[in-house]
């Protein structure tokens, strides 16, 4: 991975400095959130901490240090969870942490009065739990969550043009022994990732210093693909091999090859 950074005008030295900055800034914000009684302030500091830690983790993927990145994703996941965001599941999925535990259960009791954005974010937990075969025991509540999500299949999740339905289809594909179902369900994610990469690189000025919300190892997109890789491995199928047949930009492929080595 590191050896192709020069080809795409990314400087490893800058990435190293920036990783350090985001790591300590993330931990400093986490420390500053401790003991805050104002719920809004507490939540904001947790999400700022998580943003910094996930960015540092994404940088480390580019620097070929996925093991270290996983520690930062785990810390980011905990910060998101403290902030009350089910998005934490993607970070936990990337961290490969606590696979035996459900990520969906903690949120189910809030479902009845939950706002739209909260329900949408449950797709991340559903995806991780299905991949880990760790679905919550409260099956009634779980079915309720799935029904809610099915009812809003067309709703957009995140900023990459993906819908709730894309995540549901991916989670459903894990139940099939044939890996081709997973590949088919991954097409929207791979396409979104590849397109985002190409568009981001076209803006050379902002790209060189990654001054854009999109990251070349974007956890929003790399996360579900990594989680799918894990689900396939459980069934003795290997996503990394199957991806070789899928046309991708060399940087997109480099990032995915790098992380899928660790499923």
């Amino acid at each position: 991975m590191r050896e192709i950074l020069g080809e795409v005008h990314l400087d490893p030295e800058f990435l190293g400095d920036d990783t350090e900055f985001h790591t300590w800034t993330g931990y400093a914000y986490l420390a500053s959130a401790e003991g805050l009684e104002d719920r809004r302030q507490f939540r904001e500091r947790c999400v700022i901490a998580a943003t910094n830690l996930r960015r540092a983790g994404a940088h480390l993927i580019l620097l070929d240090d996925f093991r270290e990145a996983q520690g930062l994703f785990k810390a980011a996941g905990r910060a998101y969870m403290a902030a009350g965001l089910p998005f934490s599941a993607v970070m936990m999925g990337l961290a490969g942490a606590e696979r035996e535990n459900t990520t969906l259960s903690p949120w189910l009791e809030h479902l009845a009065q939950a706002p739209h954005w909260f329900v949408k974010q449950l797709v991340y937990s559903l995806l991780v739990d299905t991949a880990n075969q760790a679905l919550p025991r409260e099956s009634g509540q779980f079915e309720g969550a799935v029904r809610e999500l099915r009812a809003i299949r067309g709703a957009m999740v995140g900023t990459y043009g993906l819908t709730v339905g894309d995540y549901l289809d991916l989670a459903a594909s894990f139940d099939y022994e044939n890996g081709s179902r997973v590949m088919e369900a991954l097409i929207p994610f791979l396409t979104a990732y590849n397109n985002a990469m190409r568009r981001a690189m076209a803006d050379a000025y902002h790209w060189e210093h990654l001054m854009m919300p999109f990251h070349p190892a974007e956890p929003d997109l790399v996360g579900p693909i990594f989680i799918a890789g894990h689900a396939m491995k459980v069934r003795e199928r290997y996503l990394r091999e199957q991806l070789r047949q899928f046309p991708l930009h060399f940087l997109t492929r480099g990032v995915l090859d790098g992380v899928l080595e660790f499923v």
Partner: protein, 219 residues
Amino acid sequence: MIIQHVIKGINGIDDAMARHLLDSGIKCLWWVNNDPLPFHEVPLRLNERNLDWHQNQYKQPDPLYPDAANPNNEPFHLHTPFVSATAGTVDRDAYQQTNTLTPAWEVALKFATDFWKSDGYLFYCYVFVIGKPAVGQQSFSEELRELNVYPGYSNFQPEGEITAKIVIPPAQIERAEFWSSQDAKTARDNKKLPAASRTLYGKHYVAPQDFNNVRDFLK
């Protein structure tokens, strides 16, 4: 109308230049490179095309500006009529779907230190925004960070972008903070958020609470 606080990071200047900017305003590069500014051209330059180039093609050769000195087309940033600043992305998404919150100082500090290479200054300013696009209206800044105003920019804009036009006047610049890259590293070692080494204050700053529409009671 909303009074929006923003931060502008500037690299490669010293205290004297920082003081000059506090006194005379932070000008767009079109003005810096063409002083005196041909004001009659301002309405022609403040358009959506140039705003898009400012955001997405900042250092690309601009085919609309070839001249004898730049036969290969002048890079856009040398004649941009806009001034970038950041407000962070803390409240970018009113519906709380955003999982990334980036404070303004982080973004501005990266530009101010030329991405951790040297010292720089953060200018604390305010601008006027109106919650909708108004590219041709010089008085108002554009909220490119705001998904509801500029959905097309959402994925690849610099984080928290608020774009001022022609100049941020001295009345709207409160202070300039000097940040040394060494201070940032020391803070990191002490596991603390960094702080500025010293601060210069604007002599012409007019605090927005002096003219906003909250009328205080007689005390």
